[in-house]
């Protein structure tokens, strides 16, 4: 019944691979750099305040609140944590300033640890289908490139579906990533029906016995109801090839996003039932604290963090590391 979707593959021009960024050559691990950065700035400031006093003073509490707020933890969560702290101090549960930071870390940990759930490709599905969604420029396509490399290294065969048929050169961008990782990319031209491209890709992956199929989609703001409807349609159509597909619906969120990230998660979740989150661009100074609000309201598993633009810059989400970059202890 999907014959009408079938179009001939439009072959496109040759792909040029790009230059490596200067920073790649220095061999610095971005995640390590980020953690050290936090220790050097936030960590030092807090340590001076903790070390300089034998009792808990307002300055220290203020600095803690600032640390949470500037990490995008959000007003609600930050103030709740500070309230809990103050109660604990008033009750004499916390007396020593040294005990303050671990207490806050523990609070943060409790919020987000339940979401630390690695993505496991279930071998029962062939292909295991991953649908990537998110707002414009969040990092979907790049994350696909990183995931492809990761799965390849695990010995899995991978195929990509160029479901972004809207943005200029989105198909070429994905094809580049495919070429780098030596994995096939199923694509039609710009303007083709996204659901049809992805449908074809799943069938093709099935026929070839591919382990993992990752489908790209065009960036869309969660407020655009027609585009969210299109996404629902994509989701539905995927289920027609394999009723259990997609097996993972991954929301990609930019760490620089503020309170809007929660709205994004809510709306995308409502539309296509998000099963995992990847947070990108954590190699900058953004801390990604809005994940706490998302975790406590929606409880969606957090799969990966993006720490750069190269294929290797993807790490499994680790609650401890994540929190340490927001509020360093040592």
């Amino acid at each position: 019944m999907f014959r009408i979707f079938r179009k001939k593959d439009k072959s496109s021009g040759e792909l040029q691979d790009v230059q490596l960024r200067p920073v790649e050559q220095s061999g610095v691990d971005p995640l390590e750099k980020r953690l050290e950065d936090s220790r050097n700035t936030i960590g030092k400031r807090l340590k001076t305040l903790v070390g300089g006093h034998s009792d808990i003073n307002e300055d220290l509490l203020d600095e803690l609140e600032t640390t949470l707020l500037t990490a995008d933890v959000g007003v609600k969560a930050s103030l709740a944590i500070m309230d809990n702290l103050r109660t604990a101090i008033d009750n004499g549960v916390i007396r020593d300033p040294q005990a303050l930071l671990p207490a806050v870390q523990a609070e943060l940990y409790e919020l987000i640890e339940p979401c630390e759930q690695f993505l496991a490709v279930e071998p029962g599905h062939k292909p295991y289908v991953i649908l990537m969604v998110g707002i414009n420029g969040a990092g979907k396509t790049t994350t696909i490139g990183k995931l492809a490399q990761r799965f390849r290294e695990e010995g899995l065969s991978v195929m990509l579906a160029a479901g972004d048929t809207f943005r200029a050169a989105a198909v070429e961008q994905l094809k580049s990533w495919g070429a780098r990782n030596d994995v096939p990319v199923i694509a039609q031209g710009t303007g083709a029906d996204s659901a049809a491209v992805i449908f074809d890709a799943i069938e093709s992956a099935k026929a070839r016995g591919t382990d993992v199929l990752i489908a790209d989609t065009a960036g869309r703001l969660h407020t655009q109801s027609n585009l969210m409807d299109e996404l629902k349609k994509i989701h539905r159509v995927m289920g027609r090839v394999d009723e259990s597909a997609p097996h993972e619906v991954m929301l990609v969120v930019d760490a620089g996003t503020g309170t809007n990230a929660l709205n994004q998660a809510r709306h995308f979740n409502e539309a296509v039932n998000i099963t995992g989150i990847t947070i990108t661009k954590l190699d900058g100074t953004a801390r990604g604290g809005m994940l706490f609000a998302i975790a406590s309201e929606l409880g969606i598993p957090i799969r990966f963090i993006g720490v750069g633009e190269a294929a290797k810059d993807l790490r499994p989400f680790d609650a401890g590391t994540f929190i340490n970059a927001i509020l360093p202890l040592d």
Partner: protein, 454 residues
């Protein structure tokens, strides 16, 4: 954008209105709420802090304490400070230089630089009739050059081809040469996304800047950015002599605090906002409208809503029809207007909601008191239908009768009749549009009290 910040602040400010006395406590409480509202709208903490301390200093000073309407005075301070941050008026792109005028776009990864380059190209080509060339210096992101090429074709401007094998600085210089040779008026230079803490890449953008000496250097920033806006804006502003900011993806439901942060931290005007993915989705940014929307105009909106809620629509429409037909505005109409004003909480609450009217001299405002409305209605009630329709017949003896009937003095009747005739004149002037149109016009008069109220 800005709606929810506007709502929060309006709510907070509403509580202050009409308060006769402000204590240090109530000021502190208000400022606490303002702080939370700003933070929840993603304004960066350092910007919030300096904003609050600025307002606090002025609020605890003479300005508020000595004011007869301290609540109002505090609202005004918050508004002033917002305008102070946002700037006064729209700043357009400055193209007054020898062609080709170079415009450089820089920003973080995925902020919207390439799309905005195409939008600007279209804008300059169509609005300013410029011959535009674009070039991509992004040799890193896969298909970045392709993306700009496709977009350039879409908006039909010159595209200077570049290759990922070249150095960005070389590409930019060659493009500038090409722009000269082809007599382009403007050269737009798209660059790779970069992190502000990436020293090598920040070096590169400085070199690019030196190589082509752009007349405009624009920082492209995502309107959904949270607290990190403070760090990035600061770093880009220090690395480059920015001339402006473009705020993208404002078509979503971002609360827009990044606009305030970036504007405050860089001191550079936001020149355009991106309002969609298509190449025509670019609009000039009007800061004064935003500041008003965040505070004052939020009130006008709520006023219009009040009017819509409380005004008897059929009566208002009947009146509008009557006036449009050129028939006279009589005392019946005046009475029904007074009654509707009363329904909306009286004239003083109405005046309070109008931007500018809050700042009227106290003696003017005192004349707009609600007791008067009640007595005016009583006066009209004591008239015969004929007197209401033809007020000119109301002379000496009739006045005495009406005064006795309504429990007022002759002077009250004279004053009412004077206000009525002023209102009559005003209604003639406002003619079409009914109550809503009238309110809009009143708002645009800004501070000028329409005659009928004095």
């Amino acid at each position: 954008m800005f709606e929810s910040l506007s709502q929060r602040l309006t709510q907070t400010m509403q509580k202050l209105r009409g308060k006769g006395r402000l204590t240090e406590d109530s000021i502190r409480e208000t400022l606490r709420e303002v702080r939370i509202a700003l933070l929840e709208a993603d304004v960066a903490l350092p910007v919030v802090q300096s904003f609050i301390s600025q307002v606090r200093e002025r609020a605890l000073g003479q300005e508020v304490i000595s004011s007869l309407q301290p609540g109002q005075a505090l609202v005004k301070i918050v508004h002033d400070e917002l305008v102070q941050i946002m700037g006064e008026e729209n700043k357009v792109l400055d193209l007054k230089a020898n062609p080709p005028v170079v415009v450089l776009l820089a920003g973080l990864q995925g902020s919207g630089k390439t799309t905005t380059t195409a939008k600007l190209a279209k804008h300059l080509k169509e609005q300013a009739k410029q011959k535009v060339m674009v070039v991509s210096c992004d040799v890193y992101r896969p298909a970045a050059i392709d993306q700009l090429k496709t977009l350039a074709e879409q908006v039909d401007v010159l595209f200077h081809p570049s290759s990922v094998a070249d150095q960005p600085v070389t590409i930019a210089k060659q493009a500038l040469d090409a722009a000269r040779r082809q007599f382009a008026d403007v050269l737009l230079v798209d660059t790779a996304g970069r992190l502000h803490i990436d020293a090598d890449m920040m070096d590169e953008i400085r070199q690019l800047h030196t190589a082509v000496s752009p007349h405009e250097t624009l920082f492209v920033v995502d309107s959904m950015t949270g607290q990190d806006a403070a760090n990035t804006a600061q770093a880009f502003n220090e690395a480059l002599p920015l001339t402006g900011v473009i705020l993208t993806k404002t078509d979503g439901d971002a609360r827009g605090g990044a606009a305030l942060s970036v504007r405050q931290i860089t001191g550079k005007p936001i020149k355009f906002v991106g309002t969609g993915e298509k190449t025509e989705a670019l609009q000039p940014f009007h800061p004064e409208r935003v500041a008003s929307r965040i505070l004052g105009m939020g009130d006008v909106l709520s006023l219009v809503e009040d009017v819509q809620k409380h005004v008897d629509k059929s009566k208002a429409e009947k009146l509008a029809r009557k006036i449009k037909k050129g028939r006279g505005f009589d005392l019946e109409d005046f009475r029904s207007q007074l009654e509707q004003m009363q329904n909306m909480g009286g004239l003083s609450s109405l005046a309070d909601k109008m931007p500018g009217m809050g700042e009227l001299p106290e003696h003017v405002k005192n004349r707009v008191n609600d007791r008067q409305t009640v007595s005016m209605i009583a006066i009209i009630n004591s008239m015969t239908p004929q007197e209401r329709r033809f007020p000119d017949v109301i002379r000496g003896s009739r006045k005495k009768r009406i005064a006795a009937g309504s429990g007022t003095q002759i002077q009250d009747i004279n004053r009412m009749l004077k206000q009525f005739s002023q209102m009559q004149r005003m209604m003639k002037k406002f003619g079409k549009g009914g109550m809503k149109g009238m309110m809009r016009k009143m708002a645009s008069l800004k501070g000028q009290m329409p005659g009928g109220f004095s």
